[in-house]
């Protein structure tokens, strides 16, 4: 019930933002939302005790799938692009998950990193896809309805908000129930879970699949927002950024990834504008401060307030 209220409130707020705010803010909100969705997937994995340093793989697949639709098949519908992005990433995750679900800890992290770098290497070598330069994409309709110029990104933001709220609710339900406790169980004591009759492999596999599909959806959203895709989206620094955001927010709440992604985008923009020579260092110091003072992420602040209230 409470989740539904939060969901409706977020949706109303984001729709208002999409319709009323200036273009640059619409764009930033969309990018934050796209990253939030990816980090939501990472949160599902982290609840299972796994950190993936390769979510860039699915982020990139989602973005390229959406862009290729527009570039090669001349499909310019944003809704089709979003669904295709998520589906393509989910499909690849379903395949790679068969292998990765057997690994834990650093082995899981490194393998996921390796797969994302393979895609990066392939994209860089593909001159037909613009190599490192990438290529542009244009979405002109949404569910077949033509979009007026200037309105596109506002509509995309609303679409992104709907997607984000729906997946956040689904993940909330999933983690709040039997499956979520199983995931935590796998994290805390896998052997025990197996003795109790559940399959840790299955839990990891399904959660990996969810994380992959969500990263694909995020990638397609980001591609729509930016209007351009390039191999940088699959590079390990992009994957690292997602882990950064996950740590920034913490994994206690479904809202944390979205909040952290917003703070991250704002922080990066402010740092780029006011300290163009040391913006990377500003981000690094912020990370350091979080790890030292709020090891469980910014969400701890919200929880502390609730407890004291």
């Amino acid at each position: 019930m409470k989740a539904a209220i939060v969901a409706i409130a977020s949706l109303v707020a984001l729709t208002g933002l999409a319709l009323l705010s200036p273009q640059w803010l619409v764009f930033m909100a969309m990018l934050a939302l796209a990253k939030g969705v990816v980090v939501l997937g990472l949160l599902v994995l982290m609840r299972t005790g796994l950190v993936s340093f390769g979510q860039g793989l699915y982020f990139g697949i989602g973005a390229y799938a959406a862009a290729l639709l527009s570039h090669h098949l001349h499909v310019a519908d944003a809704a089709v692009m979003l669904l295709t992005g998520a589906a393509a990433a989910g499909l690849v995750a379903a395949l790679l998950g068969l292998l990765l679900a057997g690994y834990r800890d650093i082995f899981f992290a490194m393998l996921s990193l390796a797969f994302s770098m393979i895609l990066y290497g392939v994209l860089v070598k593909s001159a037909a896809l613009g190599s490192t330069d990438g290529f542009n994409l244009h979405a002109r309709t949404f569910f077949g309805v033509a979009l007026a110029p200037g309105m596109e990104r506002r509509v995309f933001l609303i679409a992104g908000a709907v997607c984000a709220v729906v997946v956040a609710l689904l993940v909330h339900r999933l983690l709040g129930g039997h499956w979520g406790r199983l995931a935590t169980g796998v994290r805390d004591n896998e052997l025990r879970v197996a003795y109790l009759g559940a399959s840790p492999y299955r839990v990891v596999y399904v959660n990996y699949l969810i994380a992959g599909a969500l990263a694909g959806l995020g990638g397609a959203l980001a591609a729509l927002a930016v209007g351009h895709v390039d191999p940088e989206m699959t590079y390990w620094t992009t994957s690292g950024e997602f882990v950064f955001i996950a740590i920034l927010g913490g994994i206690q709440s479904i809202l944390a990834p979205f909040m952290a992604a917003t703070i991250f985008e704002a922080l990066r923009t402010i740092a780029s504008q006011y300290a163009p020579n040391v913006w990377q260092m500003s981000l690094g110091l912020a990370m350091l401060a979080i790890i030292m003072f709020l090891p469980a992420g910014l969400w701890t602040l919200a929880e502390r307030r609730r407890r004291s209230a």
């Binding site: 190599s131 490192t132 330069d133 542009n136 930016v226 351009h228 989206m233 780029s272 163009p276």
Partner: protein, 424 residues
């Protein structure tokens, strides 16, 4: 208390009136120019920082009114300019975000070194309706695959770099029979090699390509590739490398005799001469992506940039510096043409109309906005050979190619033009 409060009221009123009056008397609101260039990362050293330095120097001297004719008027048409500089590092996605944030804060944007960033920014500039001048990126795809109203590029494309070194090579060694390549495996390296290979095949039909080595970007170590090249038997080795990779190639290749056994062509080698100097072996063919740096013509404008830059930063300006100054001067020329003899600031559409098809004088010589419906510059190309004389690196045997000869006609794609015989 009463006198005090009435005094306070009067003071506040006076302050308010003064505040109102200030903007009216201060008609000289500076023009804000956004500058986007690499301040961090591997491209900062060879390109980004020299370009930023040139931007700061040029803006300051323009505002002081000490730039030689035809740019002696202060600022842009008498209005001082103020730079807002941001970092280009972080990839196209971040750049699109930063560009969108920058647009409301500035009147004009000048920037972008990476072709990926240029490709991503161009459609956004069009959507935001903000005059955006690309100054360095090389890919011809920008105006060949699309057409823009608000986007310009005052630097020539990468096409002429490799066409001009191919022409130079064939003129100097008419019997050349085989070539090989060593280029970084990313868009710039792939495109440069394709242009060079195709140009050589057009100029010397039947030429043999012995090998094309594509190590990954910023690999730094080229032991294996150099061995392959040494064993390939190719007469010519082409490389479009830059930055640390280029230095690595020269420092690792020279002791192994790569430069003695082969004619080495460094199509974008100019920025390395300030750092490597005499360590570049004699007889290396060098390009500067246009008539920049040591290839600049002997004009007042070129001398002005070279001396003022050298005085302030204690190194000569390289091609990135030249191209940045060129972009600022190009916008200034268009601004002043649009302003005419009027007093008011020209609106953006007028500046755009003035910049389209404009021919202006840059520190590297005349710049013609001839391609992409008047949005893409062409310039003469210059190629030379290195020679150490009296302990100093000199560029000798410099050949110039007129802009029309090394660039495709408007509306023709570079790749097709090179393959179909470099014809007008």
């Amino acid at each position: 208390m009463r006198p005090l409060s009435s005094f306070g009221l009067r003071a506040a009123l006076a302050a308010f009136v003064v505040l109102l009056a200030v903007p009216a008397s201060q008609a000289q609101q500076p023009l804000k120019v956004g500058i986007v260039t690499f301040l961090s990362g591997p491209a900062a050293g060879p390109f980004g920082v020299p370009a930023r330095n040139a931007a700061e120097l040029t803006a300051e001297l323009l505002n002081a009114g000490t730039v030689p004719a035809p740019y002696s008027q202060k600022g842009f048409g008498g209005t001082p300019i103020e730079l807002v500089i941001i970092d280009e590092a972080g990839g196209p996605q971040k750049q699109v975000a930063e560009y969108r944030n920058l647009v409301p804060r500035v009147d004009i944007v000048i920037g972008y070194i990476s072709s990926g960033d240029c490709l991503a920014i161009a459609p956004v500039a069009e959507e935001q309706k903000k005059l955006t001048v690309l100054f360095d990126c090389g890919t011809p795809r920008i105006f060949e695959d699309a057409s823009y109203k608000y986007v310009f590029r005052t630097g020539p494309t990468g096409t002429m770099d490799n066409v001009s070194v191919a022409l130079y090579l064939v003129e100097r060694t008419p019997n050349v029979k085989s070539i090989a390549g060593l280029n970084q495996n990313y868009a710039w390296g792939q495109d440069s090699w394709a242009d060079f290979e195709n140009a050589m095949k057009t100029l010397k039909p039947g030429i043999e390509v012995k090998t094309s080595q594509m190590p990954k970007l910023f690999a730094g170590q080229f032991g294996a590739e150099i061995t392959t090249l040494l064993g390939s038997g190719a007469e010519v080795v082409h490389s479009s490398m830059w930055g640390g990779d280029l230095e690595g190639l020269v420092l690792q290749g020279a002791p192994r005799g790569l430069f003695e056994k082969h004619k080495v062509v460094l199509s974008a080698g100019e920025p390395a001469i300030n750092r490597l100097g005499t360590r570049i072996p004699d007889g290396t063919i060098l390009g500067a992506r246009g008539p920049f740096g040591p290839f600049a013509p002997d004009t007042d404008l070129a001398r002005w940039l070279k001396t003022t830059y050298q005085d302030r930063y204690h190194v000569p300006p390289n091609y990135a510096s030249f191209k940045m100054t060129q972009a600022i001067l190009g916008v200034k020329a268009a601004y002043e043409k649009a302003k005419g003899s009027g007093n008011g600031a020209p609106d953006q559409d007028k500046i755009i109309a003035a910049l389209e098809n404009l021919t202006f004088e840059g520190p590297g010589g005349p710049v013609k906005m001839a391609l992409g419906k008047g949005h893409q510059a062409i310039m003469d190309a210059a190629v030379g050979t290195t020679k150490v004389e009296g302990g100093e690196l000199k560029i000798v045997d410099v050949a110039r190619y007129s802009a029309d000869k090394v660039n495709p006609p408007d509306g023709v794609k570079s790749e097709a033009w090179i393959k179909s015989g470099l014809k007008k």
